[in-house]
Subunit: 143 residues, 2 copies
């Protein structure tokens, strides 16, 4: 588990995680979030929609960015202050999603780092684009 | 389950949902999102942080907005295009969170509705403030 202070980060630094969400992940997320939208949890309903098949909740896919921030970059002790998400394409069960965050701007006096966030599927289609603001840990020696 | 077209919405319309997240919810969300940040999943680590106790993932709390959009307002057939979230206060296990969305702006020619989003705890402290863009269902007769 990383723990990078703002002094240890540079514009352009990036980190990536990958995940293919299963039907079980989606049903489990529906339970914990109370988001039982049938486009996610119902086998028949999506056939009548533009998506044709069940899709993964956008907020679940977007959580991959949170996972990167908390564990990889900046890692342990990071504080999440803002996240924006634009959902640009549907994510289907089993799609291999690659989420990447890249340092865009550093506000060293305020200890805040702005990251560009992008998630793509196995075909290279962008499924989410967004931006996050993170307060990195102030010290890296108490891990 | 509602299914409101843009013609059935008005600026100022709002909908609310409530949830108290449990430790089990948070551990389950960590599994499906891969977000095992110890501030959420570890009993000891948070004692050394400004939070003192384990906190709920911000993205999980923010999912309450998604739950409202997909089920209550506009409801069935809504398409989620954007969500921004600003995390303003920590959410602890058992906090009674009330999430509310309110129609702020309607772009009828593009079939898009902008909602203000706010989540508060049982003390009235704002824990998330944000904004969402939703495409409501175009017809309400295919439910």
């Amino acid at each position: 588990m990383n723990q990078l202070t703002i002094q240890q980060l540079n514009v352009g630094d990036s980190a990536t995680t990958k995940k293919a969400f299963t039907e079980k992940d989606v049903l489990t997320f529906a339970e914990v979030s109370s988001d039982y939208n049938p486009v996610h949890v119902d086998k028949e309903y999506p056939k009548e929609t533009m998506f044709k098949k069940q899709i993964v909740h956008g907020m679940l896919v977007g959580s991959l960015f949170s996972a990167i921030f908390g564990v990889q970059m900046p890692g342990l002790g990071s504080i999440y202050t803002k996240q924006s998400l634009k959902f640009t394409n549907p994510v289907y069960f089993g799609d291999e999603i690659e989420a990447t965050v890249t340092v865009r701007e550093m506000m060293i006096d305020r200890n805040r780092v702005i990251f560009d966030c992008v998630a793509k599927n196995q075909n290279g289609d962008v499924v989410i684009v967004g931006e996050a603001t993170i307060m990195p840990p102030k010290e890296s020696d108490n891990a």
